[in-house]
Amino acid sequence: MRDDLARWQEGGVTVALIGNGTPEFATRFREDFDFRGRLLVDPDLVAYRAARLRRGSEAIVSRGMFRDVARALRAGARQEGIQGDPWQLGGAFVFREGGALLLSHRNVSAGDHVSAASIDAALEQDEPVEEGPAPVSRFASVSTALRPILDASPVGSFDRLGFARHSLGFDADDLDVDLRERHVVVTGANSGIGLATSLALADLGARVTAVCRDEERGRQAVELIRSRTGSRRVALLRADLSDLSDVERASGELAKEGVDVLVHNAGVLPSERGESAEGLELTFATHIAGPHLMTARLRPALEASADARVIWVSSGGMLTTRLRLDDPQWRARPYDGVRAYAETKRAQVVLSELWATEFRDTGIKVHAMHPGWADTPAVASSLPRFHQLTRAILRTPAEGADTVVWLAASERGASESGRFYFDRSAVRTHWLPSTLERDGDRDRLWRLCGGATPNRSEAYGLGARSPSSQGKPAD
């Protein structure tokens, strides 16, 4: 097709190739293939997602793989090494001047390339065509049926192989949405899952407020989101989620603007015990106290939305522990940052269920999820050995954020409340009997956090009973 590309360019067609690798890969590609057209890089797959191009194991394995590859080889294509995301499939689109679509081809498997003849025919016609639905994997039903068996182990499930397998069952139309009327608040948005979530939702048209602890890093994140998506509707709100005074201030500012989706993503994993401004253990303050207070303070704003959602970004690590409330501040035990992280992530899931009950008469939906094992700066700095050992199989931040985006944007995110999700499926919150809550634990957690209307200076000591225990919202 190299000669065809040159022919089309000489005929006045702007030819652009978009790749998902790095600029270095693009430069080498241009040199190797002597390509003279526009060569663009999309390492975050923003344009790929917007174009609804398929992603998953059919990028590598498919029933017609050998036939498709043989056909491509006969036509002159050569595979010299993977320089980019191996799970991402491509496609081809021909646009008339002004943007009317003349050809829409989304690859359904490796080796499935649009033919030059099809492009020639599209360029000769004048009548626009329909975009067509996003391709559905032929393995979708099999993948879904086998999921409970294949997900028995985190390896092959929490990692990028698991995402590739699970994504076979994704319906791309779920994210064929217009979020221009929606205001989404994402905490911890300057990197990792929070940044990827903000990118994806801004790309879908949402107005995004990125809540970040560090002003400079937050500003850089906002600039990156704006440049990658072309959206100017991205703003920074500086706030430290562990500082309850800061949470009060930030919540007050957000409440004035209205909130449709609140994503509790901010997280920490310190190696040593630290304390927040109010003297709470830092992990507890960031994961529990701050988000709980923010949810309570934003309740009126959420109730004013026609379709409000609160999403807690938990962790698969919570599956290893039960809800522990005997020493949430780690004053009686030798500090273990990994255990503190897991315990607060378990508490987040329970809190999400309690809030779902609290909100059941309001229409506000509450979800919890876990992103799998994602390659984020936080994982690299907090769990360096784990990161080193698993780096080759870790998910990208975008893959880790996919379910957050889906819960925030899709119709499914408005249909249920109080469930725990992994890769767009509701999953159980307990793998082991030892992690089940004990009698009264849920009451104690709700009381510890101050109930539905926490008094910031008196939190964690109010005598409120949890909504789940009495069937009524607690005061």
């Binding site: 191009l53 329909e130 975009e131 998506t229």
Partner: protein, 43 residues
């Protein structure tokens, strides 16, 4: 419906390493027909 794809991806800015400054994809079809090929990867 036929404009939806162009509207969805038109505002996205991607970088051409040979040119430095990112440009919105809509510029590709602003002055004439455009063929946009999304590669599986650069290999």
């Amino acid at each position: 419906m036929t404009q939806r794809l162009a509207d969805r991806i038109g505002a996205i800015e991607l970088q051409d390493p040979a040119r430095g400054t990112p440009q919105a994809l809509a510029a590709l079809w602003s002055e004439g027909p455009a063929l946009v090929l999304f590669l599986r990867h650069f290999g």
